[in-house]
Amino acid sequence: MAQWRKRLAATVTASFFLAAAMAGGQAAAASSQGTLTYSWSANVGPLDPHRYSPNQMFAQAMVYEPLVHYREGGTIEPWLATAWTISPDGRTYDFTLREGAVFSDGTPFDAAAVKANFDAVLSQRSRHDWLELIGQIQSVEMLDSRRIRLSLKDPYYPTLLELALIRPVRFASPSVLTPEGVRSPVGTGPWMLTETKRGEYDVFTRNPSYWGPKPAYERIVVKVIPDPTSRAVAFETGEIDLIYGGTGQISADSFTRFKARGTGQTAVSAPLATRTMAINSGRAPTSELAVRRAVNHAVNKDAIVAKLLYGLEPRADMLFAANFPYTNLGLVPYAFDPARAAKLLDEAGWTVPAGGTVRMRDGQPLRVELCFIGNDAREKALAEAIQANLRAVGFDAVLIGEEENAVQARQKDGRFGLIFGDTWGAPYDPHSFVSSMRVPAHADYQAQRGLPMKAEIDAKISAVLVTTDETARQTLYRDILTILHEQAVYLPLSYLTAMSVSRGVDGVGFGASVYEIPFGAMRPAP
């Protein structure tokens, strides 16, 4: 008996010592000087500049550079091209390439390299069908070793904007280009991918031959952490130095907690895209203008922003925030005004029957299907808030929560009354987003389908994309966005932002798009 006890006691003691030894053996969590530790939900991929998943955009942007660079507000600045001229008919672009830029393997960046990359992209045209520019390119010629000419079918004005995108038009060293993609990731950018451990991390090292200002950090380690909660814990325990991105990176909950406790430096970016709902003009009862306007007046966006979005996303009154090109139009927002909404509905003949709560007309209740992604807690909460707001003016919203793909299918074929959808954000807004409104497979097309002036809208969109006259372009955008606003086919809710939380890092700013993380400007805090 006694021996049993002794043995048990010995086992217990031994396990305690073992546990203590394990705890003691833990490596110091703090990262070494000169290394910034970030995290992402997956490995960055093979990093082919001309391909999509599994290549991660933020990492492609670290290694590869564009001819021209997109800055916040939609202005374009020189990058690998130092100058360019556009022919009067808007069909020919001549670029002068930067002197002194080299790929990290020593290959010079010149017209031949640019041509080779365009050839690689154009040999896979169907892969890039979604991007209008690729379809517009007729030919790419070398004028001399430092100049290149791009010829287009139409005078497509967003050419420079789309050349600035992270993919597909960025440049890998011709020495690694093969018909099957790049052999290894070699670009001109400030970072080189130097190590990948599947499922664990990727390491980027500063490119010593970079033509531009050298980043302060020597290395960036990107740990693979798929779960936002785990990521928050990793930050709290010092495993990573930086969280940067949208709600996929960090939940608003964790962000507010870090901010309140001062766990790290927190910051919120300017609007990067719009969180909105499309209102279906092709289906009763939202086919009536008065009903759509009533929806816009009935929803209390300020309360939604404060209570459900933690005040992290500013209230949206328009489809595009005013910091985007051509969108600062001074239109009058639909103010939160339930009385006005009720009056609009009354005038349209939708009245509350005696003893009832839902408005009726000709025996039909005023009812709309509100569709959202059922397992997205945020969308569900928003949907419920909007439902309550609508109910307050006698408007019955039926909540339909489904999985993401099913909701996408509804967006494509128009089986919705109200449905969530975000705009694409910089640098796609407004031009690419507006362009997609002409495509039936988009919720926007479906939402606008019932408008009497839909054909006119589409014609104006087609015109604005190819006009070379700046004033005409402004006028066309004003017309398009004004019609959409007055017809109330959208219920903009808030402007999406990026968030950052950092510790021991100075100079954490925001890029012009959520996919471009300005690691170059970050430096270790003294």
Partner: protein, 314 residues
Amino acid sequence: MLRFIVGRLLTLPPLLLAVSVGVFLLLRLGRGDPALDYLRLSNIPPTDAAVAAAHQLLGLDRPLAEQYLSWLWQALHLDFGLSYVTRRPVLDDLLYYLPATLQLGAAALVVTLAVSLPLGIWAARHRDRLPDHLVRALAFVGVSIPNFWLGFLLVLLFAVTLNWLPPLGRGGLSHLVMPVVAVALMSLCINARLLRASMLETAGQRHVLYARLRGLPERRIVQNHILRNALLPIVTATGMHIGELLGGTLVIENIFGWPGVGRYAVSAIYNRDYPVLQCFTLLMTVIFVLCNLLVDVLYAWLDPRIRVLREVGR
């Protein structure tokens, strides 16, 4: 015995075939479309043309039967296709991540057995006294706590508050502690309870009474006459626990950033990565079948009665 093992192994191919058909169809019964997920991951707007192109790229534009047969033919050559997401050979990816999962599962199994056996014995020997109550309370709590919640609690206490253990990743022993505890606790509690009950039942049997009459020392009675007989149900249960532990790693790997097949499979589920899920299911089936076979062999080896029955049955 050899015949028994070979016989059992021969049932594996038809089982795998049935599983592969079942999984193939079940995956496609879902309403989702992997092409849409592929486009979402690629940040490409899902226009009709883009969806059609993605269907073609992923081989989803062919009739279902043709898809299955070509998959089967390739699978027979151990080619399970390319992952929709990573665009790498699926088997290669899974085998790359498998050792981490096996390490976690094996460590959890060791902990389960190493802790549950003493606990069960302790409780049984002090029936209805404090140790027994403690073990029963622990078992009740342990069985009721979902492992992912326990995982988060452990992280909160040992990583965030006390800063004793690393919150995630794979590395030294310290990285193993929390995920192993989170995965093992439930099996451990079930095992302890089971052993306690089994020991008490055995202790009431006649041969134990006779042993006492023979004046054998208590320790020998417990070791040779109670414990050895009481262990049989534990062997069976362990076979089932292996499944439980491997299943548990699916969730736990995500919480602790453990680079194993579980985490890989969960993201594959999220992204509707059919080839990965098909191969993963088959791989898990093989592992389960082999583990259960091992348990059965062990069982026969431990218990002569079963061995004899099998011989007689033949």
